[in-house]
Symmetry: C2
Subunit: 200 residues, 2 copies
DNA sequence: CCTACCGATCGGTAGG
DNA sequence: CCTACCGATCGGTAGG
């Protein structure tokens, strides 16, 4: 998550970070191609040329945002997968972690989930790898659930897709005011996923 | 769904339709802002200026694609909601219809689900209305399920979101080869949604 | 459907 | 961080 990673001075990294925050918001709202470098600069109160003492290109900006998003998801899920709790509560915590990332970093999450395809090949592959790693962590959680006898022994692929679909779509509808918090949401969804919505 | 709606001659509407198909593909792959009018023209084998005897603007093209998408979803779900079957099979059929639209018209569905926000205000509102209508149809299905005693009597909002999240995300991962067909997919997902993934 | 072009804007740079 | 600008490309148009 930290963007002050390469030993910039405090002021430099503060300026840089403000640019990232502004770009995150704009890329999330209007898309990467729909956002101009001049809009980003204007939102920071400077001229477009001045951006380039802090960034090297527009795509560089996108990559750092997308990569931060990837790291946020991985960093939230990894400790849960590695923990020694039972499979059921790991599944619940995993979904809460995912929803937590989406709701507390809505712009970055949306850019990560949707604008990463605008990256050029080399950098897109780096992100593809992290996406694969994240999916594999979920595959692990589900296969633990099956081997512990908590989950029905079905093709785990579609359960994984079902869970991630629910978690990913959150940025499309979630409002900070009026909706359940991430923990409550994860409880609600995981109750349906595990026990079903049917009346018994 | 029909694009030959305003009485154009056969040839005109054929040319027009080819432009829509090409634009659908490109908007889906690279986004509305990431696609240039020249790319669309080139994919049809003509020059950019020549497009404008068939369309009136780039945004017009987007609107027609998005609106067709909206109509496809509404047209597939409406007869199911109006039918007199039991709530459980209407829910299953509704999800199959939704997944059917997404998988058989993947490009149009993706553009409808994601690029509609690029529309200017007036036309975005028209689409917002149709999205609301579609959501309300689902709300109806769920409330029937509750009143028929098929579904647990919980806040229906999150069940509706859960179902639509699963259905909408399909375009992100579905491959025509190797995956289940829409009916099978809907069965699989609806089984988990109704009965849960937990072992009992 | 093409030729020929338009004003505007794009991402980015040089030099201070 | 600004001034001043670059070549390229954008959506779109006039006239055939």
């Amino acid at each position: 998550m930290s963007r002050a990673r390469k030993g910039f001075s405090l002021n430099e990294s503060k300026s840089k970070q403000e640019i990232y925050e502004v770009a995150e918001k704009l890329f999330s709202k209007k898309g990467y191609h729909g956002t101009t470098i001049r809009e980003i600069a204007q939102a920071r109160g400077i001229l477009s040329g001045s951006l380039y003492s802090h960034i090297s290109s527009k795509e560089d900006l996108l990559f750092q945002i997308v990569d931060d998003g990837a790291e946020a998801f991985l960093g939230a899920l990894e400790p849960i997968v590695r923990s020694s709790e039972d499979a059921k509560s790991k599944l619940r915590q995993g979904l809460a972690a995912h929803i937590g990332v989406v709701t507390t970093q809505m712009d970055a999450a949306k850019v990560f989930l949707h604008e990463w395809t605008a990256l050029s090949e080399f950098r897109r592959e780096i992100i593809q790898d992290k996406r694969d790693r994240y999916e594999n962590l979920w595959a692990e959680l589900i296969s633990e659930g099956i081997s512990e006898g908590v989950l029905r022994d079905q093709d785990p692929k579609y359960l994984r897709i079902l869970i991630l679909s629910i978690g990913n779509w959150v940025y499309e509808w979630y409002k900070t005011t009026g909706d359940l918090n991430p923990e409550q949401l994860a409880d609600r969804f995981m109750d349906i996923i595990l026990n079903g919505a049917a009346f018994k």
